[in-house]
């Protein structure tokens, strides 16, 4: 009988969960810095709450969760919403330029939520990011851990990845908040569009060349698209030649 050792399971689960945790933290930090933190944290807490219930109820049966349809729904929603921020971000960065928006928040263009009631947009984005990625991590733990009869090592590996990348996200939070809001909206729009494209197509069974590495490819394509459209918009607005 061959059995995978606990260290191998711990490392595999840590690395695989790390990829999902980075995606989760990227969405949460981006949304929090753009829309405000209160509703984002409520969304994160609600997401982890739902996850805890699902994990407690489903347990080892998590391997049977239909992750494909879930990825399709969450991915399609992130994609359509991300495209709105992508578009608005291009228009706002083109209108203001990077230098002109530095450090100044213009009330008319900021996505920052200032009302006392909950911001459902930030809540929903954070909630979906946490539940989908968290569920994928839980499934990874079950697949790696229970599959090798090393569930404890799997749980430790995944928890370590969540804590490590979560802490990194918290540390980066201050730096992210110093980025001009309109530019941040463009960056988060590009990120949400990237993850949305990847997940929705994965959900319908499309095989990405390079698997998860395709996310980086998408990021490059959409980043270049953003730069080109900002240049074209600036040219249209001010008659400027596209910036190199």
């Amino acid at each position: 009988m061959t059995s995978t050792g606990p260290i191998a399971v711990l490392i595999s689960t840590f690395l695989a969960s790390g990829v999902e945790a980075i995606e989760m933290v990227t969405i949460v930090v981006g949304v929090g810095a753009t829309r405000g933190w209160r509703s984002t944290w409520i969304g994160v807490a609600a997401g982890f709450g739902v996850l805890a219930v699902v994990v407690a109820v489903a347990g080892l049966a998590l391997r049977a969760v239909p992750i494909g349809p879930l990825r399709l729904v969450v991915g399609a929603l992130l994609l359509t919403f991300g495209l709105q921020w992508f578009r608005k971000g291009v228009m706002r960065v083109a209108a203001r330029g990077f230098a002109g928006i530095g450090g100044v928040v213009h009330e008319d263009e900021a996505e920052l939520w200032t009302e006392p009631r909950i911001d459902w947009t930030a809540f929903t984005l954070a909630f979906k990011g946490v539940t989908l990625e968290g569920l994928e991590i839980a499934i990874l733990v079950v697949a790696f851990g229970a599959g090798a009869n090393q569930l404890g090592a799997g749980i430790i590996g995944a928890s370590a990845a969540l804590v490590l990348f979560g802490a990194a996200g918290l540390l980066l939070r201050g730096s992210v908040q110093r980025v001009p809001r309109s530019f941040l909206q463009l960056i988060v729009g590009v990120l949400l569009t990237t993850f949305g494209t990847f997940w929705s197509l994965e959900g319908i069974g499309v095989e990405w060349p390079g698997s998860d590495a395709a996310i980086l490819g998408l990021l490059v394509v959409y980043g270049a698209t953003a730069a080109i459209f900002v240049s074209l918009e600036r040219q249209r607005l001010f008659g400027l030649r596209p910036a190199v």
Binding site: L72, A76, L77, L79, T80, F81, L83, Q84, F86, R87, K88, V90, M91, W120, T121, T124, T193, T197, S200, L201, I204, G205, V206, E207, W208, P209, A214, L218, V221, Y222, T225, F229, L232, E233, R236, L237
Partner: protein
């Protein structure tokens, strides 16, 4: 009853804004693209490129439409 109705309307508005936003044509194109990608994949045709192409093309169309629109101020 009025409170429930206003809650339902608010809920509907939130999701409309979340999915369709300022330009519903972009989201519709994405949904059609996802359906076509699904059909292509089911028929063993490589389809990963379709949505990125739709995203780039529809963004360009939507931005052009927005900048041709008269500005408020």
């Amino acid at each position: 009853m009025k409170l429930i109705w206003s809650w339902i309307v608010g809920f509907g508005r939130f999701w409309y804004g979340y999915i369709f936003g300022d330009d519903w044509t972009v989201s519709v194109a994405v949904f059609i693209g996802l359906i076509v990608s699904g059909v292509l994949t089911a028929n063993h045709v490589v389809a990963w490129w379709l949505i990125p192409v739709i995203v780039v093309v529809m963004l360009g169309i939507s931005l052009r439409r927005a900048s041709n629109r008269p500005r408020k101020s």
